[in-house]
Amino acid sequence: MRVHAKRAGVLLGGLMAPALSTADWTLNMSPGVTGTSNDIFSLHMTILWICVVIGAGVFGVMFWSIFAHRKSSGRKPANFHENTLVEILWTIIPLVILVVMAIPATATLVDMYDTSEADVDIKVTGYQWRWKYDYIDDDFGYFSNISTSDDEIYNRTDKSENYLLDVDNPMVVPVGAKVRLLVTANDVIHSWWVPAFGVKKDAIPGFVNETWTRVDEPGIYRGQCTELCGVKHGFMPVVVKAVPQDEYDDWVAEQKEAAQRERELTEKDWTLEELMVRGEKAYASACAACHQADGSGAPPAFPALKGSQIALEDMDAHLDVVVNGVSGTAMQAFGGQLSEVDLAAVITYERNAWGNDTGEMVTPKEVFEYKNQE
């Protein structure tokens, strides 16, 4: 097969050269780095070998008939068409094999469902099209967006090693600790999967699913959303960084401090320029996936913001759309997703970028008051 693909590559004028250099021919599942993933791997191998053995038997008899019982070799057909004993045997034997197989499968499943006595709790929320990780014991959380550039996706530049599997802020977990994941979604159904952990759980709006993992080896582990969730379903990777406990503790302390600083920013007096700078970043992370970096949107599902009525006229209407979303459409309520500072920055940015130039701004304090007057 390798030769085959190489030939095809040559035929295509070496179009594939960049891809082939990093690609591989993995045939099987990998055992992974958790107890669960190892259990799954051994179940997988057991059932695979059972299938191979049964297949070899059945196809063996069939191929024997195909080669030996041909009309062209002068065979006269036999006339048997029943044999009760044989028929009972080939009903009972598969049944026994299945029972034998069901026992370890049941044990693994029971273990996978035991989410008790976790050391760390992380809430995983799926959004179109990014993940949010909330460390609920430590009161901080953040979004995790794909960091592969459009230039790579549209073949304008070479693809990096972790093409489509890189994010700005990975989830961080301590090695050796039992991490409980509370998985939910904000809009449509997503599914959070890290193959190396053997963990896949659907993230469903209105439900909180529980699962857990204990990572044995430090490292960076990658996966993807596995439930079709809209246009960018293929572009919402999962990246988890497993670090030693002390490194994890330092990281948590840092995050808590940063969260505190963020909260204090609401009280600060902001200028238009400062909000624009912050707004550009917040817009890129929260809004650009649908409304596009240049505000042109993708009508009719995602309206343009450039020159739009909402962004140019009444400020309260603009606040309402961003904070509360628009029910019945894909526009989410960002009030609970973004800090007051980011809300203020995004709205200010949208009113002044791409030639919208209203010169108007809204401060984090005003956003705070708007949210609390409701």
């Binding site: 891809a19 068409h81 499943l109």
Partner: protein
């Protein structure tokens, strides 16, 4: 009473097919309607196949080259819907129309006018469905399983048209199923008891009951979507107190029996073809019938195996895992019986037999991966990856579609009165066989290596196998044009076919001349 009989007697003198377009629009003849179903199905097969070619072309290399993700999602959705509802199901209804009356010795289907209507609804439904591609916001883009709320709150405006199309298809299928049941239960030739019925008739009888049981469930779930989208209800909207998981339960209560609807008639057809070319009676007729019955019953209690990752309680998880594994037993019985039929036969390998043997081998491979998927803990790794795509394409392409090709070649001489071109047909088989395996086998590897399904672009480690798979898919797709050539050639002429062109074939359909006259079995034959 006598007046009616007289008129009819007079009609008999010029009772051939009508001329021109009215023959096809107004026909109540099971053979004409069967042919129209088959032609419609093949048209849809080419259309759905063209969409698959778009998908495979985009996946030929990493990166986005040919289509945008939005259009890619429309292609995967429409490919699935068209193949399931437009290609596979109508093909089997077409075979049923042609063959069931001939096999049970009946002059026509029991309800001929309804038969006409149930066919003509289909082109209307698909016209609506395909027209969504040209609507603002594009065609449905949420996968053929249309999970809410992606298909409701977040669906494109064309979703309502999609719902209407599904309703019409459902009406058509239900009427077709009623017709099959009425024909089989009421119009069998004297002496043909239930346990003497040909297996194709048996499998279709059971399929028709499945259709009547689950098509209304599909209609129900799309109606709930319709209400959510247009009338402000919240069946599936969590923010209104609804339940997105409810959608999946209802959908798969339809969806799982649906996959058996697409395979059981193929089981039946293959159970005629293998004995015919082995020149030996089918091994274990009775256990074949019971196995199909068991599969049909079990198909109602396994739906949640499509939902192992949605977070159902462990007791439910275990129940659905055990029930699903149990399906392997009757399915195994069928495979063993087919092999035992071939064993010590006197085998020849004309095109129908080649397709039938490939059916048994490759469907079994699809069954093995199905058994692997049934193991709930392992399913957490397989679910929604290319392993699943490989699995269901192995049961549907060499399963349902090879079953249909095998049937078509087996009965073409009866339909047209000519033998098809055996060399071309064998070429069609071998190219399809190689192309199909090249396209779908590497998908197992991709899934196990971690490639999710329904993505327009993929990480670099998946590049090689995707390219192989695309090459196989192009090969398989291009080969199907050959089938069109073979059939057209066979309709237009060729070696005259005798009433029974196959040494070992048995059944009433081979007692009438080839081509089968416009009206057959005006007096019922006697079955001993």
């Amino acid at each position: 009473m006598s007046a009616v009989a007289d008129t009819h007697a007079q009609d008999d003198h010029h009772h051939g097919p009508a001329k021109g377009i009215t023959r096809w629009l107004l026909t109540t003849n099971h053979k004409d309607i069967g042919s129209m179903y088959l032609i419609f199905s093949f048209t849809m097969f080419l259309l759905g196949g063209a969409m698959a070619m778009v998908i495979r072309a985009e996946l030929f290399q990493p990166g986005l080259q040919i289509v945008e993700p939005e259009f890619f999602n429309q292609m995967t959705t429409m490919h699935g819907l068209i193949m399931v509802f437009g290609a596979v199901m109508p093909a089997f209804v077409g075979l049923a129309n042609w063959m069931i009356p001939l096999m049970v010795g009946a002059p026509d289907m029991a309800l001929p006018r309804m038969n006409n209507w149930s066919f003509w609804l289909l082109p209307c439904a698909f016209l609506i469905l395909v027209s969504t591609l040209f609507m603002q916001g594009g065609a449905p883009n949420f996968g053929w399983t249309f999970y809410a709320p992606l298909s409701t709150t977040y669906g494109p405006p064309s979703t309502t048209f999609f719902i209407f199309a599904v309703h019409i298809m459902g009406v058509s299928s239900i009427m077709g199923a009623i017709n099959v049941i009425a024909t089989i239960l009421n119009m069998r030739a004297p002496g043909m008891t239930l346990m003497k019925m040909p297996l194709f008739v048996w499998t279709w009888l059971i399929t028709a009951f499945l259709l009547i049981a689950v098509m209304p469930v599909l209609a129900g779930v799309v109606t709930m979507m319709l209400m959510d989208i247009n009338f402000g209800t919240s069946f599936f909207d969590a923010s209104g107190g609804g339940d997105p998981v409810l959608f999946q339960h209802v959908f798969w209560f339809f969806g799982h029996p649906e996959v058996y609807i697409m395979i059981l008639p193929a089981f039946g057809a293959v159970s005629h073809i293998i004995p015919a070319f082995s020149r030996k009676p089918l091994f274990g007729y009775a256990s074949m019938v019971y196995a199909v019955g068991a599969i049909a019953l079990l198909s109602f209690v396994v739906w949640a195996h499509h939902m192992f990752t949605v977070g159902i309680p462990i007791a439910g998880q275990l129940f659905f895992m055990y029930a699903t594994m149990l399906i392997a037993v009757p399915t195994g019985v069928k495979v063993f019986n087919w092999v035992a039929t071939m064993f010590r036969g006197s085998l020849t390998f004309e095109a129908p037999m080649l397709f039938a043997v490939a059916f048994v081998i490759l469907f079994t491979i699809g069954g093995f991966s199905g058994l692997m998927l049934a193991i709930a803990p392992a399913d957490f790794q397989y679910h929604d990856t290319y392993f699943v795509v490989a699995h269901f394409h192995y049961v549907l392409v060499p399963g349902a579609i090879f079953g249909i090709f095998a049937s078509a070649y087996f009965w073409l001489p009866k339909w047209t009165g000519h033998m098809y071109d055996e060399t071309l047909a064998k070429t069609h088989f071998w190219l399809s066989f190689v192309g199909m395996n090249l396209a779908f086998f590497p998908m197992h590897f991709l899934g196990l290596a971690g490639m999710p399904r329904r993505i327009p672009d993929y990480a670099l480690q998946f590049a090689d196998f995707n390219m192989v798979s695309s090459i196989g898919a192009f090969m398989f797709g291009a080969t199907q044009i050959l089938f069109l050539v073979i059939v057209v050639k066979c309709v237009r002429g060729g070696e005259k076919a005798p009433a029974n062109p196959w040494d070992g074939a048995e059944g009433l359909e081979w007692t009438v001349p080839s081509p089968a006259p416009y009206h057959t079995f005006s007096t019922p034959p006697e079955v001993k």
